[in-house]
């Protein structure tokens, strides 16, 4: 039996009125990969942030190698050997790969200048040792794929001496091939006797990489299981603690007036995509599936006027959008866009209700918005999307990631647009929240609005779409009805 590296006893953490963690015990052994699973808001992120020194006000005991510790800053945690790889990449894309690996602690020559040769040599050696010898360390990191950037982030934390690596949703932005390489990397790290704390919503991945799995629910630890003693179904029921009741509403038969075209895209070309053609009908969900980098997110942005395209026409409900239109014009014609990046679409310091009502202020209050009227709009929208905790005066930044996504969609359900474009609507969400969000999209469709879902998660596309487009390398390679399709058949097309 390998020794315990890190142990938590009775950890509790309170935010204002919310008890995020309730007396959680946890331990991590040397050289093990320990997965942490649970719904959004179950307390996973809070727990790892305590480990990584981001939060310092908590109750309970924290033992590292048998000694009591209390970190006040991430730097202290890193010095003690606990490094965190963040959900959102925290690398610098314009700096070279080598510079990123040594961010903040470049080797110096005796004159105090940066020792480039040594830095690049070590970077090359370390990458080769992990099986990434093809990476050119002198090129800017941004020229590499997201997967490589993730690897660089892992290596950066490792080189700073971390024995315990915390990975918060490392694969949510990666393509399947990149996920494979990351899993290989984790195996290499395990052989080096490093301990890994792995947070993921992808239970299949968890079952592949983890030695032990800890399930959190509502801030409490439900159980810690050996991987070989459990299975996905058991995990799901432990995570939810109830039967999966947030199932999708039934798909009504598609609208009778099937010829009513709400959105038509003709010969759209620009950037990485060429000759994109499709239609979204009233009462239809069109799903565009493609791996990261296929260009489907850029298409979504282009339709909304946030990405310049070279050629092509976009027709909304019979009206052609003018050349070089802005997002504002797109909204006026009846489009709405929920982005994949919450940071770019939300006002994290502002109360939730303001996030929801902002696009509709002219309709709600004219020139003088009245908070009472705004709340009348925001509260039902929050109830329908089941935002937790349901306090409309809370700043949006206090919500968990999945709940922020719900707010981003809640924004559009009171005054629905003709066509809602949702990019990666379920990224980083647990099963329950995922179904809730997809349920909202389904409801809009049943009410004869058009929905365009753009995603790199085949499960999401398969769950809600009526029609599916498959995009790869900037081109549409297949279009089909969503009948008798499964993940394999989609992935085989790309």
């Amino acid at each position: 039996m390998s020794s315990t590296v890190l142990e938590l006893k009775g950890i509790s953490k309170q935010f204002r009125s919310v008890q995020a963690l309730k007396s959680v015990d946890f331990d991590l052994r040397e050289g093990e990969t320990h997965a942490l699973v649970g719904e959004n808001g179950a307390g996973k992120s809070t727990l790892v942030r305590i480990l990584a020194g981001v939060y310092d006000g908590y109750d309970g005991e924290f033992l590292l190698n048998g000694k009591h510790v209390h970190f006040h800053t991430p730097k202290e945690a890193l010095n003690a050997g606990i490094g965190m790889i963040h959900q959102e990449l925290s690398t610098m894309p314009v700096l070279s790969v080598a510079e990123n690996l040594f961010l903040g602690r470049q080797p110096l020559t005796r004159f105090g200048t940066v020792d480039w040769k040594k830095m690049e040599r070590i970077a090359r050696e370390e990458l080769a040792a992990l099986g990434f010898s093809e990476i050119i360390v002198t090129l800017p990191l941004g020229t590499n794929s997201l997967g490589i950037q993730q690897v660089a982030e892992v290596l950066r934390v490792m080189l700073s001496g971390a024995k315990v690596l915390i990975m918060d949703e490392p694969t949510s932005a990666l393509s399947p091939a990149e996920v494979e390489r990351l899993i290989q990397l984790i195996d290499t790290l395990r052989q080096q006797k490093r301990s890994i704390l792995y947070i993921s919503h992808f239970l299949e991945e968890v079952m592949r990489v983890a030695d032990r799995i800890t399930v959190l629910r509502d801030g409490r630890k439900v159980d810690t299981l050996e991987r070989k003693d459990t299975n996905i179904n058991q995990l799901i029921s432990l995570i939810l603690g109830r039967q999966v009741n947030a199932t999708l509403p039934p798909a009504l038969p598609e609208a009778t007036e099937r010829d009513h075209i709400l959105l038509e895209v003709k010969d759209l070309s620009g950037g990485v995509f060429t000759n994109v053609n499709f239609q979204v009908l009233a009462g239809q969900v069109l799903g565009i599936y493609g791996p990261i980098g296929a260009g489907h997110f850029d298409v979504a942005r282009a339709i909304f006027g946030m990405y310049r395209f070279d050629r092509g026409t976009i027709i909304v409900d019979g009206e052609e959008l003018p050349g070089n239109f802005s997002a504002r014009q797109a909204i006026k014609r009846g489009l709405a866009y929920a982005t994949e990046s919450r940071r770019r679409s939300m006002f994290l310091d502002e109360p939730i209700y303001r996030n929801i009502t902002l696009p509709h202020l002219p309709r709600i209050g004219g020139f003088l918005p009245n908070p009472a009227h705004e709340l009348e709009v925001a509260v039902p929208a929050m109830t329908r999307t089941n935002v937790q905790p349901p306090d409309p005066l809370n700043p949006a930044g206090k919500l968990s990631g999945g709940n922020q996504q719900k707010v981003a969609i809640a924004r559009w359900i009171t005054f629905p647009p003709k066509v809602l474009i949702a990019s990666e609507p379920t990224r980083g969400m647990d099963v329950g929240a995922k179904n809730e969000v997809l349920g909202i999209l389904r409801t809009l469709r049943n009410e004869h609005y058009g929905v365009l879902v753009v995603s790199s998660e085949p499960e999401t596309i398969l769950a809600v779409s009526d029609q599916i487009l498959v995009m790869t390398h900037g081109r549409i390679v297949a279009q089909m009805e969503n009948k008798n399709l499964d993940k394999d058949s989609l992935m085989r097309l790309i």
Partner: protein
């Protein structure tokens, strides 16, 4: 708390197995050398923080929030209390009148500046635009012989147009506002000098409306009257209008949201360029008003801008707690900032024994202290929910 007291703090020493760091050790002695005093400083700070933290945590949360978000107000009260106790001449009616008269011009400028800073932009041209507007007024009145109200209207229009000019340069031509308004500042300054040909105008040559705005007393002419009352009233009115617009209108909300997260604002359908253009226009307009007010108060039309106006206006806004990066703050904060700034500079005048050559230096230090208190404390607190 119990666990925290028992635990040993881990800091300083890197983990033993850091192969990479040890291998790169040639520059290490520099880092070590820095690390030693840094460690001492950190420990020195850690000792009082260890005593203070439990005390702070014992304060109820509502009060903690009041203490932090209202930091600028507490600063203002402390400044007032200090000067009132230290100098007999500070807390007098006449001196408060003085303070108000002194801050009226920066106050008017600060309203426009608040709008601009809330969107995360900046306007460096206000001092020059104020000078140009005042110059236009005096030229039309004195040299070209136009009667009021034309010189006044022309002056306000000048400010408005300069603001619109900056707005067009920064939104349509997409020059960042920092550079666009810097250019506008030189343009306006140069025009002022060119038009005036370096000539000053004095009291009798300045238009009566300008003098009325700048130096009319309120409450008769006796010793009980409010000196520069009209100008103070005007400043108050502009502050009030600014407050109402930012707090209650849709435009005000858009200003905040544009500053808080521009890309999210565009996604929500806000025309952020129009908002930036509008706030620069508003700022130009208030600069025009301030130019007239300053000219009327001084009774002199100078052929060059007053260099302190720009820094004063920005200092007032920031001192109140409005963020330079946008999205946080407001006119209420600016009002407190204006009063604090005015009280600080005025208060030091009341010390008879201060070396007058050292006064600016001392003002700088005191201002720095106030800024640290206001920004550091208020910055850690959540934004007040208006």
């Amino acid at each position: 708390m119990g666990a925290q007291a028992e635990s040993t703090d881990v800091k300083g020493e890197p983990a033993a197995e850091t192969k990479a760091i040890q291998e790169t050790g040639r520059g290490l002695w520099i880092r070590r050398l820095i690390a030693i005093p840094m460690g001492w400083i950190r420990r020195l700070i850690a000792i009082p923080m260890g005593w203070i933290r439990p005390l702070i945590e014992r304060i109820p949360e509502v009060w903690r929030r009041r203490l932090t978000t209202l930091a600028p107000v507490w600063t203002l009260l402390v400044v007032w209390l200090f000067f009132s106790l230290q100098t007999p001449s500070f807390a007098t009616r006449a001196n408060f009148n003085n303070i108000l008269a002194q801050v009226a011009t920066p106050g008017i400028l600060a309203v426009g500046m608040t709008f601009v800073l809330l969107t995360g932009e900046i306007d460096l041209s206000i001092a020059a635009v104020a000078a140009l507007s005042a110059e236009v007024s005096v030229q039309l009145y004195r040299v070209y012989g136009w009667d009021e109200p034309i010189p006044l209207i022309a002056a306000l229009l000048t400010g408005l147009l300069c603001g619109m000019g900056s707005g067009i340069i920064s939104t349509i031509i997409r020059v960042p506002t920092f550079m666009a308004t810097l250019a506008m500042s030189l343009i306006a300054e140069g025009l002022t000098l060119w038009i005036s040909r370096g000539r000053q105008f004095f009291y009798t040559e300045i238009s009566p409306w300008t003098l009325w705005i700048g130096s009319k007393k309120i409450g008769g002419t006796g010793p009980g009257a409010l000196r520069n009352g009209m100008m103070i009233l005007l400043c108050g009115l502009i502050l009030l209008i600014g407050y109402l617009v930012l707090r209650y209108t849709r435009f005000g909300r858009y200003v905040y949201m544009t500053g808080a997260n521009p890309s999210a604002a565009r996604l929500a359908g806000i025309n952020t360029k129009l908002i930036v253009f509008s706030v620069l226009t508003i700022c130009g307009f208030t600069a025009g008003v301030a130019g007239i007010a300053a000219q009327g108060r001084l009774g002199t039309a100078l052929p060059q801008p007053q260099g302190t106006f720009l820094i004063q206006a920005i200092a007032c806004v920031v001192l109140g707690g409005t963020s330079l990066t946008g999205g946080k703050g407001g006119i209420w904060q600016t009002t407190v900032g204006v009063l604090t700034y005015g009280s600080l500079t005025n208060g030091l005048d009341n010390f008879r024994n201060i070396d007058s050559f050292a006064k600016t230096f001392i003002t700088g230090l005191v201002l720095l202290g106030a800024l640290i208190v206001n920004i550091v404390f208020a910055g850690r607190a959540p934004r007040d929910r208006t």
